[in-house]
Amino acid sequence: MIEVQGLTKRYGPFTAVEGVNFRVGEGEILGFIGPNGAGKTTTMRILTAFLPATEGTASVAGFDVFEAPMEVKRRVGYLPETPPLYREMTVGRYLAFVAELRGVPSKQRYKRIGAVMDKVGLTGWERRILGSLSKGYRQRVGLAQALVHDPPVLILDEPTSGLDPSQTASVRALIEELSGAHTVVISTHILREVEALCDRVVMINKGHIAAQGTLDEVRSRAAAPHFAVELGVTGANAPGADASREVLKAVGALGEVKTVEPVDDPREGLIVMRVIAEGDPRPAVASLAVKEGWAVHRLERVTPTLEDAFLAIVGEEAVL
């Protein structure tokens, strides 16, 4: 549905994005993540045919963004970071204007506006002046304008920024509901949001793609899944440096375990380690602990989060 190849945008000597490639399949939700100033908004603006690119190609819904911008604009609903509202207008008048602008036939216009207002929770707000709305409601109107012409592609720049938790939840539920029928690209700082919503992720940093793939693929860039083990060793076997070493050695000797790394922990009487294993080493570790008389405080599989991946990848590049 969206295909981007070798996309580069330069503003004079400053390069905003360089050599960006990615694809988004029909009905997919793609999360676009990266630190501030990474080039997310620039890429989105190019996809909506607002900005021309310096190099590269991009196509949306089968139309080239640079050669057929009007066709692309007809098929894209775009919510910029700040909802683009006319403060003097009422909600109803504004949505009618946007629907007319995007070519919704006049016979369907009011039905469409009603449906969209219902979808984003604005029913009964037609006569309110946009300038008097709270941030959450402005964001809803912003979403409604992006949806009013029922576009196959939605590009949402930080759709939940500045919303309270319940508003965030309802916007997320709405985006989830929209996937399938619409192809959605969202940019966000909130990585949990991406984990909750997106099928695939593109991580961008300093104008380059730092990582992309399914959530699991990107997460695994941070660290392999591992096991957190905390054992309490008390009494005669109280952990000195030697005792710790022995416990680590005993765990490391188990069949499934590949590596054991000690983790510094301030708590008294605890030996904390990070175990990487083939398969699940937890039953073997538990049996060993029972045999040796150690207390098991924690024995848990840890899957790296997107945040770990983000920090690992973006942090890594920042050092470079």
Binding site: L51, M70, T82, R93, V98, L101, Q145
Partner: protein, 239 residues
């Protein structure tokens, strides 16, 4: 969607914004007050049943008034981020500019219609030259179109409304002042300065003559500034 429909959509939107904000009313009020003042002055000074003095002075006051009307058009769209909404909708830049220009011109039409009371007063008490009054209105309307184009250009240069209003005045003022400078200027400059000044081109209309050279002057002025607006907005996207 064809270009006329999008132009009409923009035109309607601009008019609805004009009339829900106090701007249009303040503007109409100020313009009609000035028109009344100039009408009275014209009658008191010349004793003629003509609108010559009123329309000449009104045209000069448009230099200061029209940039206030057009200043928000692009400056405010860019500040509020709605320019992005317009440019990511299937609307060409040409129809956007045309819609905004026509909206300003419509308001000018309403404003000029408000001054039709004065010829009615003249007709009641005297015997005015209806041909000259008609062509004067044509001239003033063309002048409004030209000044609105310059005002839109000023508005495309910045995202600060007040600065846009100021730029508009700064752009228009030389086209008036240059006319006064004609007698002071060296001989060989005079024809050029006379060509640039707008009042000599308007005076043909107030005398009851529609001269194609004067029509062409206002049409070119309008076209050049609308074209500059187009190029400025287009280049903003590249920066």
């Amino acid at each position: 969607m064809n270009i006329f429909r999008t132009t009409l959509t923009i035109l309607r939107k601009e008019l609805s914004i004009y009339f829900v904000s106090p701007l249009a009313y303040a503007f109409l009020g100020m313009f009609l007050f000035l028109a009344g003042l100039f009408f009275y002055m014209g009658l008191a000074l010349t004793g003629e049943a003509s609108l010559r003095v009123m329309l000449g002075n009104l045209a000069i006051s448009l230099i200061f008034v029209l940039p206030m009307l057009t200043m928000r058009h692009f400056a405010e769209e860019q500040r509020a981020g709605t320019f992005e909404l317009l440019m990511t909708s299937p609307v060409s830049l040409g129809s956007l500019i045309a819609g905004k220009w026509l909206a300003s011109l419509t308001l000018c039409g309403v404003m000029l219609a408000g001054t039709l009371l004065f010829p009615a007063v003249l007709a009641y008490y005297g015997d005015p030259d209806w041909g000259a009054i008609f062509t004067s209105y044509v001239g003033l309307f063309l002048c409004c179109g030209a000044f609105c184009a310059a005002g839109l250009f000023a508005s495309s240069l910045t995202d600060d409304q007040v600065a846009a209003g100021f730029f508009g005045i700064v752009i228009l003022l030389p086209f008036w002042l240059v006319g006064s400078a004609v007698t002071l200027a060296p001989e060989e400059w005079r024809p050029w300065l006379e060509m640039l000044a707008f009042l000599p081109h308007l005076s043909g209309f107030t005398k009851g003559v529609i001269d194609s050279a004067n029509l062409a002057w206002f049409a070119s002025f309008t076209f050049i500034f609308l074209f500059l607006t187009y190029r400025t907005l287009e280049s903003r996207r590249w920066r």
